[in-house]
Each structure stands twice: as structure tokens, then as C-alpha cells.
């Protein structure tokens, strides 16, 4: 087993130092306080700044703890920002797939719809933004559960609400399905909330690869699935492409 990573230890020390002080510290003060070379301290501070754990005052150049640290554990990506950064790719996904597109983030044990693009057939549709979906019966929700964007434990304690005979109600069924989602890199929910309806979703990753939301398409099962009732590979591909494009925009470099 490898030993502790020195740069992470130093980063932790810098955060402790900034948390202890009443005001802001300059680069020189940080370096001398911890006995680091200025260049080393600067590199770590810049990295911490890029993940919003540290902020630099524009006028004085001094460093302080970043706002993101105060919100550790809660969603660090503003949902309106997520919509704004996704809008072009969500539009393209709707245009290419011919289906309605939704973006979901976790909210108090549900999926909150933060963006919705109409199915491009110009029929009358109403915006779903702000509505909630169950985690266990939607592809968006399964993605959020599978990648730890929302805690799984509450769903493992009891059976979940059944919407159709296909809904995954038992903890065992759900657990197995989430394992498959992680394996495949995408999720589907076929007639699990409503008969005849299906949805397909893929994870949206933010900085460092953390899953911050999910994007997916939904519509009639006979359009989304093949004759064997499996999601169309081409639609899965389009959904995953859109999720990757949004992730890249959010700074998740490797996806």
C-alpha cells in the first residue's frame, strides 16, 4: 500500500491555516507559516482555487477559504448554472433523438427536473421544470443513485412505492440494477413508472468526475426500445454523448 500523498497533506495544512486565521493570508505568509517553498505553496493554492476551496482577493492578492467549503456535502453546482451550461447539448440531444430531454439533480430523496426540452414535433407540451420524479422508478434517478449523487441507504430500508408491475420495489432488485448501471455507464427505466413509457439517462460529471446530475430522454416505449424491449443502442449512444459533452463543459476533463 502506498504512503500518504504529500501534496494532499500540504493542501490540508493550508486549509487548516486559512481556517485558523481571522483574515486573509498572502502567498508569502502561507509559505513561511508552513515552511514551504513559495512555488510549492503557490501551486497548491492555485489548485485549491480551481476547485473553489480557496478564493483570492482581486485587489490584495491574499487568499482565504472559498465558499465551496461551506457547502461541502450539499450540491456545489448551482442548478441554474447547470441548465445554462447544458442547454445547447440538451437541444442537440432532443433534435437528434426526436424525444423530450430532461436534466435531473437530487433533491430530498427525489429527482428535481431542472431543465426540459420539448419533443421536437411541435405538439402542445408544457414545461416540467421544478417537478419531482421518484429515484427508483426513473432512469435519471437510477443514475443519481448509482453514482452516489444522493444517498442510497433510505431506499435500502424498506420496499419502494410500486407504480407498475415493472417498478423495482425491493432493495435487492434495486441494488442489482444499480450495479448494472455502474457497469454500463447509463441507466434505463422501462415501463417502471408508467406502462408504455420508457426513459434512458447518463451521468453528468463535474470537476474531478463527481456526478452532479443526469441527462436523459423519455418517451413512448415503442420508439425508445427495440422489438425485444431493450433500449435502442443508437439512442443510448446519443444520450451518453450529450452527457459527456455537458461534463466536458463543466470541467470534467476525462469524460
Amino acid at each position: 500500500m502506498a504512503g500518504p500523498v504529500q501534496s494532499i497533506e500540504r493542501a490540508a495544512a493550508i486549509l487548516r491555516l486559512l481556517a485558523r486565521g481571522s483574515g486573509r493570508l498572502s502567498l508569502g505568509e502561507v509559505a513561511t507559516s508552513l515552511g514551504l517553498a513559495k512555488g510549492t505553496a503557490h501551486g497548491i493554492l492555485r489548485t485549491l482555487q480551481s476547485v473553489d476551496f480557496v478564493e483570492q482577493d482581486r485587489a490584495t492578492g491574499k487568499y482565504q477559504l472559498g465558499a465551496a467549503l461551506l457547502h461541502l456535502g450539499t450540491s456545489y453546482l448551482d442548478i441554474n448554472e447547470l441548465r445554462s451550461r447544458s442547454i445547447n447539448w440538451a437541444d442537440a440531444l432532443a433534435a437528434r433523438s426526436g424525444e423530450a430531454v430532461r436534466l435531473g439533480v437530487p433533491l430530498e430523496g427525489k429527482v428535481l427536473i431542472v431543465h426540459h426540452v420539448f419533443r421536437p414535433d411541435d405538439t402542445f407540451q408544457t414545461l416540467d421544470v421544478g417537478s419531482l420524479l421518484p429515484l427508483h422508478a426513473s432512469a435519471l434517478g437510477k443514475v443519481l443513485l448509482a453514482y452516489g449523487a444522493t444517498p442510497l441507504e433510505p431506499l435500502m430500508e424498506t420496499e419502494q412505492e410500486s407504480y407498475t408491475r415493472h417498478t423495482l420495489v425491493s432493495p435487492q432488485q434495486l441494488n442489482r440494477a444499480l450495479g448494472e448501471v455502474r457497469e454500463a455507464g447509463w441507466a434505463a427505466a422501462i415501463q417502471e413508472m408508467m406502462m408504455g413509457e420508457a426513459d434512458i439517462a447518463a451521468p453528468i460529471r463535474g470537476q474531478g468526475g463527481l456526478v452532479v446530475g443526469a441527462v436523459g430522454i423519455s418517451g413512448a416505449m415503442d420508439r425508445l426500445c427495440d422489438s425485444k424491449g431493450r433500449p435502442q443502442a443508437s439512442l443510448v449512444g446519443l444520450t451518453r454523448d450529450a452527457a459527456r459533452a455537458i461534463s466536458r463543459d463543466l470541467g470534467a476533463a476525462r469524460w
Partner: protein, 501 residues
């Protein structure tokens, strides 16, 4: 078969973008780069044309191509949309710009403009170019350059320096620059110079004489959609087939091809344009008459335009100058934290008010402040300012045109703000519709280029590509709408006459 695409280049105020579209009008790939904003003195706003061309060549176009693994020979045509009225003058032999480009936001000519309105009056100009003089248009800036750059007028007279708006500058460079670059503009861009006759679509002798601009430096005025020539170095042998001012491009991208169809683009400022067909409509309510587009040899289609100077830039100000939010979209989060504006209104007349008021003596005001007001209320007031300014322009449109607007097609960055879009539907009391591609400026330039090159057959074919992506319906109580509008108008009253020259 190898897939082919249309390339659109949008040279905007903040950045230059290159977007590739496929046959269904779907966005395939994007390359983008911001450029430096130069504010050398209060009221000045400049760009470096050499930097913009360099970004386009080295970063923006290569990124768009590489992003989707597309080779230049797969591009069937290039269309260009651009920030309008921004004035570039450059040396024909070296390709070096004479100083920076003076942008549409620059107000250095305000004294001169006041003077010519006083001495000559609006009618002389309205009659010829459809515009009354403001600092917004190019000709006063060209005149300013002659008055401030030693020997420039003589060089222009000899044809040693060339004038153009951004599309002229880019097309000249794309087609070879000093080695035989094409020097041209299109009728929509030329309609914003104050030098083109709005009926004949040719340079107007009386206006040229008035502003003392030598004809030798002017680009040739062409249609918005026709193949001008081939690009050379950057995209060898790809034809350049369209150029439109960005707002006219958005009108085209929203497929507002029928008389009475209107769109509003929400960016730094916001611009509402309504198609008035081949008929030239003179506004009596503070709107501009402009060329909407001209396709090939067909007669020009005109538009009425209501420009609003400050909308998205008010959100930027709220973010950068006041530091109330970290990113522009966060304003919605902040605004949703409160029920209403708490009685607070912001009139963002940062450099006067554009349509329909045209008052350069107005300055920004925040009214209705009480100790109750929080950041959230201010965020609401910031967003509502965009809604009410749109309402004022829509009212002017409806007063000028026989057919009242029934719905508003919207596009631009601010359309991702659901709170604002709902508020807009509420104050306009009509449906607000966002199309599937919100990059309508780029799409419009692509459409025009694809139409000219035969990639798309006709306007109807383009119309079939338009799909509704979202729609907001009015829900506001009519009595409340009236009270709020009344409050807004009272706030506007208070902004007027503040600046003293």
C-alpha cells in the same frame, strides 16, 4: 457518402464563435474564443481587429473542426454574422488596422451627433438611410477618425485604406487579405452605417458628402445570401456565401420569413426585430427601419427594430461590479429566494436609453429602496428590467404595425433563465417560445449560406427545421400587470434628464 456541413462564424461583441451545422440544422460542433475589451476612456469601447482575426484563424475555426473530426473539404459553405456598426479601417497593402475597431457601444461621438441633430435635423437622415443619428451607427465614428487621425482622409481618398464593419474585415482576410482579398459588405450591415440609401441599397451620394466619406474606401454592397468568393488559406476553396448583421441573422435563424413575425435576442443588449416584408415601414414610435435580409436577386425584406442597450450586461454588472453572484445563471437562484421585487425597480440606463425612448440624458436609477430590500429583491429587479424594456418595445411595434404581435420567439443566453422567460410571458401577456437551437445568430448565418450554396433548397425547407424547445404561457393577474407596468414607467421617468452635458 461523406457528411457535409455548413460553417457559421459569429463575430460577436464578447467573443468569436464558429459553429458547424448539419442538414437538419442541428449543432454539431463549437469553437469559441473571447477577445480583449479596451476601455481607454469613459464612454470608449474598442476591439483589436488583428486579435479577432488571429483568434478566428488559430483557435476558433480549428477547434470547431477538430471538435467533431471534420475536414475543411467537408464544409459546403461559410456564413458570417457579426456585431453590427463596429468600425474598422485598415491599410489595403499591409492589412494592418488603423488603430482599434471602434465598437457600437462607444459613445465618443455623442457631441458630434448632438450637433448634427441640432443643425441638420433627423428628417434629412431618416429620408435617406431610415435612421436618426445616434452614437450607435458607423458614419459618425468614421468622421471622428478623419478628425483625429492625421492624414487618414487623404489615404482614404487615394484608396490606401479601407473601411468596413467586422464582416468586411473578416471576409477580406479570409479571401487573401493584401493579396487580393474581397472588399465587400451586405445590405443588412450597410444599413447600419448611415451611409446606405435604404431604398436603393447603394451608397448614398448626399450622405457620403455630408459625412465627407470618400467612396474609394467603401466596400461593395452585396446580398446577404449569395456566394461572394472562395476562402483561401484557412479553409481553401470553401465558398463564403452569406453575411448578415447578428440581429438580422437571428431573425433569419428563427425563420421569421413572413410579414409580422418577430424575434427577440437576449444577449449583452436585446434586440427585437419584426419582419415588415418588402414594404419599408417608417416608425412613429421610436423604432429603427432596417434591412432584414436580401437573398440573391430577390427584393430586400425590411424589418423594424427595437434595440435595448442593457439587459444581459445588467446581470454582468450585478455579478462583476456588485459581486452579488458568482455566475450569471445564479441570479435566478437568488431571485427565486424571494416572492417578488419588494417594490424595487432598476432602470439600467447606463449610457442613456435606446428604443423606444432614445434619451441619451437618462442614467441608471434604482427606486423603491427601503430597509426591507434584500439582494434577492435586487436580483428580481435586475431580471424584471429586461422584461419591462421588452414590453415597451413590443408596445411600440404594435403601435407601428397594423398586425399586433401574437407570440414572441426568443433566443440568446438569457433564455436559459426560466424565471425571466415566465416573467416575459406575464408582462407581454402572450406566449414566449424558445426554438430548439438557441444559437440563432449562428444558425441564421448558416441558413443564409446554405441557401445560397444550394445545401438547403428554399425558405420553406428551413422553416421545417424550426422546432419549439420550450414555451411559457402568461399567468399574471391583469390588474397586477398594470400596476407593475405603471410602477416601471414611473421609474423610467425618474431616470430621464439626469446626465447634463
Amino acid at each position: 457518402m461523406v457528411e457535409r456541413y455548413v460553417m457559421s462564424i459569429d463575430q460577436g461583441t464578447m467573443s468569436t464563435r464558429c459553429i458547424l451545422f448539419d442538414h437538419q440544422g442541428r449543432l454539431v460542433s463549437v469553437g469559441q474564443r473571447e477577445h480583449e475589451q479596451y476601455f481607454a476612456r469613459p464612454g470608449w469601447a474598442e476591439h483589436d481587429p488583428a486579435e479577432i482575426w488571429s483568434h478566428l484563424r488559430r483557435v476558433v475555426v480549428p477547434r470547431a473542426l477538430d471538435g467533431a473530426g471534420i475536414r475543411p473539404e467537408q464544409i459546403t459553405a461559410i456564413g458570417i454574422a457579426n456585431q453590427r456598426e463596429t468600425t474598422v479601417v485598415w491599410d489595403r497593402r499591409t492589412g494592418v488596422p488603423v488603430g482599434h475597431a471602434i465598437t457600437w457601444q462607444d459613445t465618443r461621438t455623442s457631441g458630434y451627433v448632438e450637433e448634427l441633430r441640432r443643425t441638420t435635423g433627423d428628417d434629412f437622415f431618416l429620408e435617406r438611410c431610415g435612421l436618426s443619428p445616434t452614437t450607435y451607427f458607423s458614419a459618425p465614428r468614421l468622421r471622428w477618425l478623419f478628425d483625429h487621425v492625421e492624414g487618414l482622409r487623404e489615404r482614404a481618398e487615394r484608396g490606401d485604406v479601407l473601411f468596413g464593419t467586422m464582416e468586411s474585415w473578416l471576409i477580406w482576410n479570409l479571401t487573401g487579405g493584401p493579396g487580393g482579398g474581397l472588399h465587400l459588405t451586405d445590405a443588412t450591415n450597410a444599413s447600419r452605417t448611415m451611409l446606405m440609401n435604404i431604398r436603393s441599397l447603394t451608397w448614398d451620394d448626399e450622405l457620403l458628402a455630408y459625412f465627407d466619406v470618400p467612396r474609394a474606401m467603401l466596400p461593395e454592397i452585396r446580398s446577404s445570401a449569395e456566394c461572394y468568393g472562395m476562402a483561401s488559406a484557412l479553409l481553401p476553396n470553401v465558398p463564403i456565401c452569406a453575411a448578415l448583421g447578428d440581429q438580422q441573422a437571428a431573425l433569419f435563424g428563427q425563420t421569421c420569413f413572413a410579414t409580422g413575425e418577430a424575434k427577440c435576442t437576449y444577449g449583452t443588449g436585446s434586440f427585437l426585430l419584426v419582419n415588415t416584408g418588402t414594404e419599408l415601414v417608417r416608425s412613429r414610435h421610436g423604432l429603427l427601419t432596417t434591412v432584414g435580409y436580401k437573398v440573391g436577386d430577390e427584393p430586400p425584406v425590411y424589418a423594424l427594430e427595437g434595440p435595448i442597450a442593457v439587459t444581459g450586461s445588467l446581470v454582468q454588472w450585478f455579478r462583476d461590479r456588485l459581486g452579488m453572484i458568482h455566475s450569471a445563471p445564479e441570479i435566478e437562484t437568488l431571485a427565486r429566494g424571494v416572492e417578488d421585487n419588494g417594490g424595487c425597480y432598476i432602470v439600467p440606463a447606463f449610457s442613456g436609453l435606446f428604443a423606444p425612448h432614445w434619451r441619451s440624458d437618462a442614467r441608471g436609477v434604482i427606486v423603491g429602496l427601503t430597509s426591507y430590500i434584500t439582494r434577492g429583491h435586487l436580483a428580481r429587479a435586475v431580471l424584471e428590467a429586461t422584461g419591462w424594456q421588452t414590453r415597451e418595445v413590443v408596445d411600440a411595434m404594435n403601435a407601428d404595425s397594423p398586425r399586433p404581435l401574437r407570440q414572441l420567439k426568443v433566443d440568446g443566453g438569457m433564455t436559459s433563465n426560466n424565471l425571466l422567460m415566465q416573467f416575459l410571458a406575464d408582462v407581454l401577456d402572450m406566449p414566449v417560445v424558445r426554438p430548439m437551437v438557441s444559437e440563432t445568430v449562428s444558425l441564421g448565418a448558416a441558413y443564409a449560406a446554405g441557401l445560397a450554396s444550394g445545401y438547403w433548397p428554399d425558405l420553406e425547407g428551413l422553416r421545417r427545421n424550426w422546432h419549439r424547445a420550450a414555451q411559457w404561457m402568461p399567468t399574471m393577474d391583469p390588474a397586477r400587470r398594470e400596476t407593475e407596468y405603471e410602477n416601471w414607467r414611473r421609474a423610467v421617468e425618474r431616470s430621464l434628464g439626469w446626465a447634463r452635458s
